[in-house]
């Protein structure tokens, strides 16, 4: 599965497109089942993402976190999602379906493009000009120019404010591994003390990934109780999504 996806520098592929391609490649419908199956491939893709604006990276990570949520549910059937989590799963499915619909529409348009175009006349029948400057004046034109300049799109507003706190999954896996190798055993609640929802999700997912690749084991006494994570295989940082 390595090196399968190439990111053309001039054709930037967003997270929804990436995900949809993975699903369509496998000829699966958009569903929780298919999303959980393409999770690894998606993470593999995210790992290889080139340098790109933080806002774009954040979109990839947000989708990754929802995807891992779906995956974790398939791994831990007892896992109950909160209403908010449930919603983010539904939202992802809905966005994917809608995006798929527009992609289909775009394909239909491609077929029509320039096939039987309508043409505008080469020139309008001449109408003799009658000099009528009306309110045109230096101040009015200056004002119009200034107003126009104000409406020009400004250089991309930085999106950092909105997305800065989001942690990259890979970083969390590394730091989790690091903490575990020092403590050998820790509580999930300790790991995520003071963290917001997004980074709690990322931590949770990182933990699941560690468990999945045999780097750690996790136990939970009962539903909603704290999760205890233990390091199992001290050597070798697990690589996810390969």
């Amino acid at each position: 599965m390595t090196e399968r996806f190439e990111l053309a520098t001039d054709a930037f592929q967003g997270p929804l497109e990436t995900l949809l391609n993975l699903i369509e490649e496998r000829k699966m419908p958009i569903s929780e089942v298919s999303l959980s199956q393409v999770c690894n491939a998606y993470l593999g893709y995210v790992e290889k993402l080139p340098e790109m604006p933080l806002g774009e990276t954040a979109q990839f990570i947000l989708v990754a976190s929802t995807l891992l949520l779906i995956k974790s549910r398939s791994l831990l059937p007892t896992l109950e999602l909160s209403a908010e989590e449930r919603e983010s799963v539904e939202e992802l499915e809905r966005r994917l379906s809608r995006y798929a619909l527009f992609r289909k529409a775009a394909k239909l348009l491609r077929k029509e493009w320039g096939r039987a175009p309508l043409f505008f006349p080469k020139r309008a029948p001449a109408r003799p000009p009658v000099f009528s400057p009306a309110e045109a004046s230096k101040p009015a034109l200056l004002a119009a120019a200034q107003k126009l300049l104000n409406t020009l799109p400004k250089p991309e507003a930085l999106m950092q404010a909105a997305v800065a706190p989001i942690l990259a999954l890979e970083d969390v896996i590394v730091s989790l591994k690091d903490r575990l190798s020092r403590a050998l055993k820790t509580r999930f609640s300790e790991l995520t003390k003071g963290a917001d929802r997004e980074s709690r999700i990322v931590h949770f997912l990182a933990m699941l990934e560690l468990v999945r690749y045999g780097g750690a084991s996790a136990t939970q006494e009962k539903l909603f109780s704290d999760i205890i994570i233990e390091l199992e295989n001290v050597s070798g940082v697990p690589k996810f999504g390969v």
């Binding site: 497109e17 604006p53 806002g55 979109q59 809608r98 527009f102 348009l109 006349p121 309008a124 109408r127």
Partner: protein, 194 residues
């Protein structure tokens, strides 16, 4: 044989030789919007199966040459027609064509990726245009131009391929929409504004 208003409408559109905004037509014809809409429909019907067709968007109307006759005419459009349009650009066009006028935030959210470059390219090619957003002055709406309809060979949105089907499917998503998505009154979206 058409009504007086439709006759004058045809004459104005012919005299202008390109897309004319409905706003200007209201002034020129000194009529009300619903009267204009009726005259536009009337003229459009009377032109069917002729060498000339009427293109209408929500804001503009134009007379154009029907697809039945091409050949020698294509020269004038060769340049634009020969130009490639990328996947991303087509997706953006599909959104504003089937969904209707949309903000950048909405387009970005639907595509899951920043679409600013595509939108700008489409603007510069005259396939999209900006309009003020009545719901939120801070954001523009992007909508199709008569030229876009012309390249696609349709005279109005309803003639787009599988229009009814796609619209129906789309409606089912928009209904399920949550307030968190950039489609409500609150235009602020997950992604950037321009």
């Amino acid at each position: 044989m058409t009504s007086d208003l439709a006759t004058r409408l045809e004459a104005f559109l012919f005299a202008e030789g390109g897309p004319v905004s409905r706003k200007k037509l209201l002034q020129l014809l000194e009529c009300k919007p619903d009267e204009l809409a009726k005259a536009v429909d009337e003229l459009s019907n009377s032109l069917s199966e002729r060498g000339v067709a009427l293109i209408k968007t929500d804001t503009e109307v134009a007379l154009a040459i029907a697809p039945a006759v091409q050949g020698a005419l294509e020269k004038a459009f060769e340049k634009e027609l020969g130009r490639e349009i990328g996947e991303a650009g087509l997706e953006v066009l599909a959104i504003v064509l089937y969904r209707g006028a949309s903000t950048r935030a909405q387009i970005d959210y639907i595509r899951g990726v920043n679409s600013s470059t595509s939108v700008r390219t489409l603007l510069s090619r005259g396939l999209l245009e900006r309009a003020g957003n009545p719901d939120d002055a801070r954001e523009y709406l992007y909508r199709p131009t008569p030229e876009l309809f012309a390249y696609l060979g349709v005279t109005n949105g309803q003639e787009l391929p599988e229009y009814a089907t796609i619209l129906a499917e789309l409606a089912s998503f928009e209904q399920a929409q949550k307030a968190s998505e950039p489609f409500g009154n609150d235009g602020s979206a997950t992604s950037s504004e321009d």
